[in-house]
């Protein structure tokens, strides 16, 4: 498998950088090429970075609860930019308040994310997902 490029960042006005930084550190250690946009990143910046670096996946963090507002239309932006098949993950504390995870997950899958990670997800799980999904794409030759 060729080295894959991954864009990470924390979307919107969200400053929670710790989990995103630990995630980026772990992905880098696992052999991925990382484009880390850091905290407080507008949606458009993710897309721009993905195009510029010919990325294989975008990992969006949102912890502060307003992710539901910030992430709306993220997939559309990708489509507009010609990244219709981009692998999109989102993770963190995605909505305001404590809600059953199934409900929250559905909101974000419906928005067009390929996977959504529940609060407190560990990096090991994310590494597994990526290996599986990117491997799958490689196998069926789906363009990133």
């Amino acid at each position: 498998m060729t080295q894959k490029t991954i864009v990470t960042g924390v979307i919107g006005s969200d400053t929670h950088i710790v989990g995103n930084r630990i995630l980026s550190m772990a992905l880098e250690k696992a052999g991925y090429k990382l484009v880390s946009l850091g905290a407080l990143t507008p949606a458009a910046d993710f897309i721009r970075a993905a195009i510029e670096t010919n990325a294989d996946a975008i990992l969006v963090s949102s912890l502060y609860g307003q992710g539901e507002l910030d992430c709306r239309g993220f997939r559309d932006l990708c489509v507009e930019a010609g990244l219709e098949n981009m692998l999109l993950y989102v993770g963190g504390n995605l909505v305001v308040g404590k809600h059953p995870w199934e409900q929250v997950e559905k909101i974000f899958l419906d928005m067009g994310f390929d996977r959504a990670a529940a609060p407190g997800t560990r990096v090991e799980a994310v590494l597994e997902w990526l290996a599986q999904d990117l491997g799958e794409r490689e196998r069926i030759g789906k363009p990133a």
Binding site: V10, G12, S13, D14, T15, I17, V18, G19, R21, I22, M25, G38, A39, L40, Y64, G65, Q66, E68, L69, N93, V95, V96, G97, K98, H99, P119, G120, R122
Partner: protein
Amino acid sequence: MNAPSDPDFAAALSEARIDEDLFGRMRVRNLARWPTGAGVNLDEAIERHERLPAHKRLSAVMRAASAEGRCLTQPRGGFGTFELQKELMQVLDREGLADVVPTTTDSYTRNEQFHLAQKGVEESERLGRSLLNGYPMVNYGVAKAAELIDAIDKPAIMLTGTAMPKLTGEISFAGGYTGYLGSGIAYTSSYTKELSIEDGIRNYQYLDRLTALYQDRGIELHRRQPGFLTGTNIPPSVAIIVAILDMLLAAAQGVRNYGLEMGETLHLVQDAAAVKACRELCQEYLARKGYKDVYTPITLLHWMGAWPQDEAQCAALVSYGGTLAAIAGADSVTTKSTHEAFGIPTPKANAEGLRITRTAVYLARHIRLDSMQEFKDEVDLIKREVRPVVDKVLEMGDGDAAVGTVRACEAGVLDIPWSPNRWVKSRVMPARDADGCLRIFDPGLMPFPKDVMEIHEEKLRRRATRENVPFGVDLAVQSVYEISEPIAKLMSDKRAA
């Protein structure tokens, strides 16, 4: 955000009190930034504060608590619509028995994206649930703020987690809020990415100067510094270094009632020592700079790092958070709830967090550690860490705390762990040691004395040895997760006896 071309920022940065005329012009420009700014009328505001009974003025309530040796409880809390916010504040007052009632603003307001906040309000009102993570104070304006104050029988504090407090400050003070949490160094370094430390300091100089304006008119407001910073394993010394600098900046503007907050380390002795060291060092530096009569109460905060998912484990963290604050002799404690790992708590869960904490405070109110050797040693160690750094920062500014801070951040002399801000090096790296204290694994470029760093290293090496892991940065990463792990992992019940 503040552009460099902002006329308020024309003068060179300094800690000096903003000149009265200039401040008048700054206020006019500030209040014109959003329609509700027009609702601020200083004379009416002063009258409103004069009508408030003492038990609704945070400055007086904090002073009384200190005099009585009492530890007050205060939650956090903000919802996206006025109705939800009012109900929340009433529940926290009546069912939570909060001594201080909060209003947390939403993250758009924190970043002065008032148009986005307006969309959030409208959607929240339509859906009947809060899509914003706090109350959009600026969008609702002064009259609504006053209605919130009237709805409760306690003093209210603004919790805004912002480096841009100029409009929320004006509107909330005008509405009768008597406390405002936030400071230039702490919040800029932990809540922003692009804003420079200099701009953050200037923004808070405005707020502190505004506080002094009220003070000149006979209204003492409570300002407070959020020493928890990024909330992620901040060792007491790092918190206190920033606290002292932010406090000196506020005192220079004329603030007289200035609280200092620290996130709990969760180690009883270290937290108690942190409170004592912070209290003494603040007064020491105030005296050195010639400020008299600045009252500096200390607040501890429930664990600010990642929380476990199990509500039972959370209940213990909430309760111990009260125990630690009471034994440390903190003047108040800021509470969390059993929902912390998931999302903003319901009013009910928030009120329960308050009652758990209040009970814990009650149970431990008689305990003090002063005669304990480990406690004395820890106070001493913290002071040996704080003084060299603060002194160096002041020296770099030729005695000016504002200038020194900016230069020290650039140089990494002043540094903050896990900061999102690109003007902060964020090379300093904390980790938990073998005894459960937070220590400095990597000082980055901070000028901690060699003998002190040896103590830290020895204690961290002991942990690495005991856990049979390498002495490396993973100690720090593991320490980010530790408290959020399932208790079955932290302390197994499976044993081969």
